[in-house]
């Protein structure tokens, strides 16, 4: 299907100062395209959570926004370290975040469940030592 917009944002490990800038730009971009209301809020929440996850947990990665005629897609791909037990990571309250993340109000073990709750489709693939890819889809009203 024809891709209307594709934007990629590099996200650095432990860059707490910039964390959220990609999500703010994603939100602005979608708003300019006329995406609003519930879909915009769900994309914004999920993208902020996934961006923070890249900062807190990954060795660095990239967040990509794709806009298709019928849906918005967010793809987060990192270069490790990978998640040993995905079902554990998906549980509310389970977290391996460090004290720095917790002191900023994150690392409560809500990130992945929040993404899943907000996205219409959610897929997570992870290989320890290789990396994690999360793909989320948000249906656009026709």
């Amino acid at each position: 299907m024809e891709e209307l917009i594709r934007k990629s944002y590099p996200v650095a490990q432990a860059d707490y100062v910039s964390a959220g800038h990609a999500s703010a730009d994603i939100k602005r971009t979608l708003k300019q395209l006329g995406v609003g209301g519930d879909v915009l809020r769900r994309v914004a929440v999920a993208s902020y959570e996934v961006e923070l996850n890249l900062v807190i947990h990954s060795l660095g990665g990239e967040l990509t926004l794709r806009v298709l005629p019928d849906q918005v897609e967010l793809i987060s791909a990192d270069c490790g370290p990978g998640i040993p037990d995905i079902s554990m990571a998906m549980r509310e309250g389970f977290s391996t975040a460090n004290d720095e993340a917790r002191s900023l109000g994150f690392g409560a073990g809500m990130g992945l469940p929040n993404m899943k709750r907000n996205a219409d489709t959610f897929d997570i693939q992870s290989t320890v030592g290789v990396g994690t890819t999360i793909t989320m889809g948000f249906a656009l009203p026709s």
Binding site: V17, A19, G20, S23, A24, K27, R41, A44, V45, Y48, E49, L104, G105, F106, G107, A108, G109, M110, G111, P113, N114, R117
Partner: protein
């Protein structure tokens, strides 16, 4: 309830948004955990928090929140206030603790964000 009513109840000081104090407030959420805020809150909610880092404002931006209340007299740094100002947020601060602030607002009729409170089968 409006933001102006909250200011009276909490004896709060306005840091930003003096011209928007007649904005209605429908529900409130009190948390220092931004992930919990991201999970449950919508744009009609006022956020009461003791956390004053930039992520409070970024979380508010993602959710289109209208008002932030800082407790125990906390005032964020100017750069954080500047970014809240860009978003048009009303920011107020009260000397009360989070517990007391919530209690006084609840007493005056403000309620929390609706979340399921019954235990479900998945909790067993």
């Amino acid at each position: 309830m409006t933001i102006q009513d909250m200011i009276r109840i909490l004896n709060a000081r306005v840091l930003l948004g003096e011209d928007k104090l007649d904005t209605p407030v429908y529900t409130a959420c009190c948390s220092d955990l931004m992930s919990d805020v991201l999970a449950f809150v919508d744009e009609k909610t006022v956020l009461i928090t003791g956390l004053t880092n930039p992520h409070v404002v970024r979380t508010s931006e993602m959710l289109d929140l209208k008002c932030l209340v800082f407790v125990r007299g906390k005032v964020p740094t100017q750069d954080i206030l500047d970014s809240a100002d860009e978003q048009g947020l009303v920011v107020i601060t009260t000397k009360l603790t989070a517990f007391s602030a919530c209690g006084m607002l609840y007493q005056e009729g403000l309620r929390g964000v609706p979340v399921p409170v019954e235990w479900g089968a998945e909790d067993k």
